[in-house]
């Protein structure tokens, strides 16, 4: 007994939207730049000019492409097959996370063995986890122990694990699914729900709050974007977005220049602060929406530059997001290592940032080439649609 899905298959397949690849690729670069410690180039990343940062872009686009790729599979092949594919993807990401953790431990163990400085007796406590590998490794496998900058993939894993159900509902009743997602977000704020971390505290990216952005991305992919289109074309939306972005920029300026603090009314600070990244503060979400609204308004889907050679590097990276994301985390470790061992001045920071992005682009090009060759030569007539569709991989 097959139920007629609310979303016709045709609505899911208007071809590849290169804007998704482009912005996901850019987000991957920015995440890398932000993860290189003490990096002067990180001055260019969007988090310095407003409330939201590249994480929002990454999670939104991942939700969008996941719905695009697996939504089609769910409509054509049913819940079980699509659900299995989504869980397989979550498993791949888990394996990637554990692999990165192994590299991380190797770097930290090396740094710890050569580190002695009377200034940093207290900071050395941070290396205590190396003394209890039994506990540390098990907690890491349970995704409870997450070293600095390794919070995004665990979030992604949890989001994908809940995604089969979310997608099932999104296809049948998109508005209801989005409403439930908002309700979960509100309840999370109201009752302070989050997952526990080891040795203490909670997940830095609370999946129960960040699911809103992921589900919203999926909702847009499954027809929501079409529904929003009239509102996005309205000049009122455009001006609201511009005003909000300028306001956010002004507020961030007062963070960098404490002397400008007097421009910030006390009541406004009381109301606004703290801007909570863990639970995806409404101000951050709104900042992302404003950025997205302007992007969609001024960069059309058939923008000629999307075909140009100049944007190809970022688009290629966005098309292989999991590989390039993991590579970025590894490169950030490697850059830190080189800076610790040799020299970490501004020139080196610039060199490391450039080299890192070049390696990411080179790798993405090689992966594209390899997948092309494999697709042609292996004789398999049709690959499962979890790669290279629409906005790249889910």
């Amino acid at each position: 007994m097959i139920q007629a899905p609310a979303v016709p298959v045709a609505a899911l397949a208007p071809g590849r939207d290169l804007r998704l690849d482009l912005f996901r690729g850019l987000a991957l670069w920015l995440i890398f730049l932000d993860h290189v410690p003490n990096n002067i180039v990180a001055w260019f990343t969007i988090r310095n000019y407003g409330f939201s940062d590249a994480t929002e872009v990454f999670i939104f686009i991942s939700g969008y492409t996941a719905a695009f790729v697996y939504g089609r599979a769910m409509v054509e092949r049913g819940f079980i097959v699509a659900g299995a594919r989504i869980l397989k993807r979550a498993w791949q990401i888990y394996v990637a996370h554990v692999f990165l953790f192994a590299i991380y431990i190797a770097e930290i163990a090396y740094v710890a063995s050569s580190f002695e400085n009377p200034l940093y007796v207290e900071e050395m406590n941070a290396l205590d986890f190396l003394k209890t590998p039994d506990v540390t490794i098990i907690q890491a496998l349970l995704l409870k122990f997450k070293p600095a900058n390794m919070d995004v993939l665990p979030l992604y894993i949890v989001l994908l694990m809940m995604f089969p159900l979310a997608l099932w509902l999104l296809i049948r009743n998109a508005s209801l699914a989005l409403a439930l997602s908002v309700a979960l977000y509100v309840l999370t704020w109201e009752y302070g729900w989050n997952f526990a971390s080891y040795p203490s505290g909670h997940w830095f990216f609370n999946p129960l709050a960040w699911q809103l952005l992921f589900v919203f991305g999926a909702w847009c992919a499954l027809g929501g974007a079409t529904r929003l289109a009239p509102a996005l074309r309205s000049p009122i939306t455009t001006w609201l977005a511009i005003v909000y972005l300028v306001f956010a920029f002004g507020v961030t300026l007062t963070w960098y220049f404490p002397r400008l603090g007097f421009l910030m009314p006390h009541w406004l600070g009381e109301w606004m602060y703290p801007i909570d990244k863990t639970n995806l503060d409404v101000l951050r979400f709104a900042h992302f929406l404003a950025l997205a609204a302007l992007t969609v308004r001024f960069i059309p889907r058939d923008w000629p530059a999307l075909q140009s050679l100049w944007l190809r590097p970022a688009i290629r990276c966005g098309q292989h997001s999991l590989e390039i994301f993991c590579l970025g985390v590894f490169l950030a470790f490697a850059a830190h290592f080189v800076m610790v061992e040799f020299y970490g001045g501004p020139a080196m920071q610039v060199a490391m940032s450039m080299a890192g992005i070049l390696i990411m682009v080179g790798t993405a090009v090689v992966i594209s080439w390899y997948k092309g060759v494999e697709g042609r030569g292996s004789g398999t007539p049709k690959r499962p649609p979890d790669a290279d569709l629409a906005g790249g991989e889910a």
Binding site: D34, H35, P37, N38, I40, A42, W43, R47, N48, E107, I108, V111, S114, F115, E116, N117, P118, L119, Y120, V121, E122, E123, M124, N125, A126, L127, P147, A148, N149, S197, Y198, P199, S200, G201, H202, F204, W255, Y256, F257, P258, R259, G261, F262, G269, E270, Y273, P274, D276, K277, T278, A332, F333, H336, M339, V340, G344, G345, P346
Partner: protein
């Protein structure tokens, strides 16, 4: 923390690179800190009264291990002691006493609990509260950390003491191990909420590293750099207090 200072650092580093070419050859002050990092925009009224009326300034430095140095005479070279020396030099005729209360492995919440006793025992005009490192290492929930600091500051104010918050050290080697950002932001939020100055040790030490004043990467058992860093921190902290309490003070000569 990078969120707060990346822009400032970029500007400062650019300025340093430019000025460095011009000013090379002049004896540089190894403790030099750009003014925007020492700015205390909140009045320390209690400190002002203690200095101008009572001519006696009692300070308590409450903090973790990063507020002291190892070894039997380590504390005498640590920044609280250097602060006492700097303030004594710059405020002639005022009796300055800094008491150190440093504890190992204490979260902000645990430190906040000791505040009642501290106020009774010491009756300080000013409490310099350094916190955040152990919380970051331990992985305290950033929101719990922020509210613990906020409650602690409220207690100190209620007990009649002014407060200067001191954040974490800049430690390049552990930078990819300990995520300090959320805790530095938490201290910044409390500073806004309670209107107390922050001594931004993280940004200052990062500036010293970027400008080549101190090599903080170096693995060494030698105390020389550590002593110099703490002496400079004491001097910079003295400048912040003098600025935030609107005191008239002597200029400080650059250290030799």
């Amino acid at each position: 923390m990078k969120t707060w200072t990346a822009l400032g650092r970029a500007v400062a580093t650019g300025a340093i690179l430019l000025c460095g070419a011009v000013a090379r050859g002049e004896a540089a002050d190894m403790c030099a800190v750009p003014g925007y990092l020492l700015f205390g925009d909140s009045l320390l009224n209690r400190v002002n009264a203690a200095v101008t009326k009572e001519k006696e300034l009692r300070i308590v430095a409450l903090g973790g291990v990063s507020s002291t140095l190892p070894g039997p005479d380590g504390p005498s070279f640590a920044y609280p002691a250097r602060l006492e020396a700097a303030l004594t030099r710059r405020l002639p005729g005022v009796k300055v006493m800094v008491t150190m209360l440093t504890k190992t492995r204490q979260t902000a919440a645990e430190m906040a609990e000791s505040i009642g006793k501290l106020l009774l025992d010491q009756r300080p005009s000013l409490v310099i509260w350094q916190t955040g490192t152990y919380d970051a290492v331990h992985g305290t929930d950033p929101e719990e950390f922020r509210s613990a600091v906020s409650d602690g500051v409220e207690k100190l104010h209620a007990g009649g003491a002014d407060v200067v918050l001191v954040n974490m050290q800049y430690s390049p080697r552990t930078e990819s191990i300990v995520a300090l950002g959320a805790y530095a932001d938490g201290i910044r939020w409390v500073s806004r909420e309670r209107e107390v100055p922050v001594f931004d040790r993280l940004a200052i030490m990062r500036h010293w590293y970027d400008a080549g004043q101190f090599d903080l990467y170096k693995a060494t058992k030698d105390m020389k750099t550590a002593k110099n860093v703490h002496d400079c921190l004491g001097r910079a902290l003295a400048s912040t207090i003098i600025d935030a309490a609107h005191l008239e003070a002597q200029q400080e000569a650059a250290p030799q």
